[in-house]
Amino acid sequence: MLCVVVSAQFRPDRVFGFQMFNESSTMNIHLFRRVRSTKRLVPIVNGEFLDATHGAPRLFRWTERVHDPTLGKLDQPTHAKYGLEGQLFRLGLALDDFVAWMPNGFDTVGLVAVVETLKNGRNPSVVRLQSVRR
């Protein structure tokens, strides 16, 4: 038990660490996708985008893969439960998961998250996370 609690301090999201209400931080996630045809990032509106392979279109939704109530909210300020560091860590992995889950052959080759963060109401900053299909 002690080991679990102590080792939690070394996990970004402090899980199993009994760190209740550790932060009052907020994050606002904006998603973009990287496509083959252009160097510009294409914004993902309402968490969904249409892509095609061999002429067959398909609608992708961020919440198809990401059900987490914090990470699933896009384009609106959300309380970063268990802290900013933890949520950014999880978001990076969620991007990797989404990109890896997309079938081959689509135009989308990667996702970029631009996250506006506010740690305990102060120090506004923008964090950029990306995941590219390997």
Partner: protein, 375 residues
């Protein structure tokens, strides 16, 4: 060492097992509800702490949730209750390790409490499946209660981790984090259609109040780590902790956490039963009402109820004889009752204000406290 081989009445541990079983049932049902609403976690983005190969398939996950629920139910009724609680909490901990996105401090704390309670001799009372014979006789209830100390230790560790983390955080110490929480709470209340009065909003969103509240919360949590262990401070600590959790329950989404802490506090109650005596004159209305009230609210079995002998009548309709033998009568009775009855515990300090400065205390020659403290 005294704790290692102490043997105490395990009656209250049965109550803990039963209540933890109820909480685990509710928690399991919440997870079933999440499964029905969101689908199987393993087929979407999840973050296991165990190797992916150990994450159960949907069918196995459903089966495990069912087993967790059955284990929790067994914990409630007491039929193989310890085994049920052990299985239920172990499955819950395993499933939590399969997806850290489903981790919540309150859920983990409940599972740990259930796990520890399964190692306690909690199968000697509240055996609901036995009907009226649900409590074993005293001789059969006396058992080693070291795991009870482990539950106490877990409660202290929880406060230490929570309070310590806040104490090390400058934003918590300054009140900034709490100020934002207060503001968020007010925003939520407004969104829900409530209209808190301006003075209340101004009060809560004042940096001074937030700073004071922060320091009080940190001090309280760190104070509880120690105060719960000493007989002199235990009752006050339990009261302060209970108030703290009532406030948290009212102001934040913490699921079953406050209820869990209420149950965990039972581990700090003196295990021996009915060491207080309630003397009532049943010929009076006050005596009859008090008797009925205590009989229905004495969930921790603190009182032995006796009817006043005719020659004893004259000192009031109701008298409470404390564990140490002190007698409380008149205006001191409500406080003496509230101190030992969970339903009245929160108002105990208020009632204590009405106790005369020099209460009628008559040391008795009989009765001895085995572990001074709450209950």
């Amino acid at each position: 060492m005294k704790w290692l081989d102490e043997e105490r009445d395990a009656y209250l541990l049965g109550l803990m097992r039963c209540l933890l079983g109820v909480l685990l049932c509710i928690q399991t049902w919440d997870r079933v509800d999440e499964l029905l609403t969101w689908g199987y976690f393993g087929s979407v983005f999840h973050l296991p702490l165990v190797p992916e190969a150990l994450v159960p398939s949907e069918l196995v996950y459903r089966l495990l949730l069912g087993l967790e629920g059955v284990g929790a139910l067994l914990g409630v009724v007491g039929w193989y209750g310890r085994e049920g609680l052990f299985a239920g909490s172990s499955i819950g901990i395993y499933l939590m390790l399969c997806d850290r996105l489903q981790f919540h401090n309150n859920r983990f704390a409940l599972l740990l409490c259930g796990f520890l309670c399964a190692f306690c001799p909690s199968d000697r009372s509240f055996l609901l499946y036995r009907g009226k014979r649900r409590t074993l006789p005293l001789a059969a209830r006396i058992a080693p209660t070291l795991p009870r100390r482990l539950i106490q230790f877990q409660v202290s560790l929880l406060y230490l981790s929570s309070g310590g983390g806040k104490a090390l955080d400058p934003d918590w110490r300054s009140g900034q984090t709490m100020l934002l929480r207060f503001q968020a709470g007010i925003d939520e209340a407004v969104q829900a259609g409530m209209r808190p009065p301006h003075w209340f909003v101004d009060f809560l969103t004042s940096p001074f109040v937030a700073s004071l509240g922060s320091k009080a919360a940190i001090s309280l949590e760190l104070g509880l780590v120690v105060a719960l262990w000493f007989a002199r401070t235990r009752v006050a600590a339990l009261w302060a902790g209970a108030m703290f959790h009532v406030f948290i329950q009212a102001s934040a989404r913490v699921e079953l956490f406050s209820f869990l802490m209420g149950v965990a506090y039972v581990a700090f109650v003196t295990p021996e039963l009915r060491e207080r005596t309630l003397l009532v004159d049943v010929r009076t209305r006050a005596g009859r009402v008090t008797k009925a009230l205590v009989r229905s609210l004495d969930w921790l079995a603190r009182f032995r109820i006796e009817e006043l002998a005719p020659e004893g009548v004259g000192g009031g309709a109701v008298t409470v004889v404390e564990r140490g033998g002190a007698r409380r009568s008149g205006r001191a009775v409500p406080a003496a009752l509230a101190r030992a009855l969970p339903a009245g515990f929160l108002v105990w300090p208020v009632l204590a204000l009405f106790v005369p400065r020099r209460p009628a205390v008559v040391p008795a020659t009989t009765g001895a406290g085995s572990e001074a403290g709450h209950g």
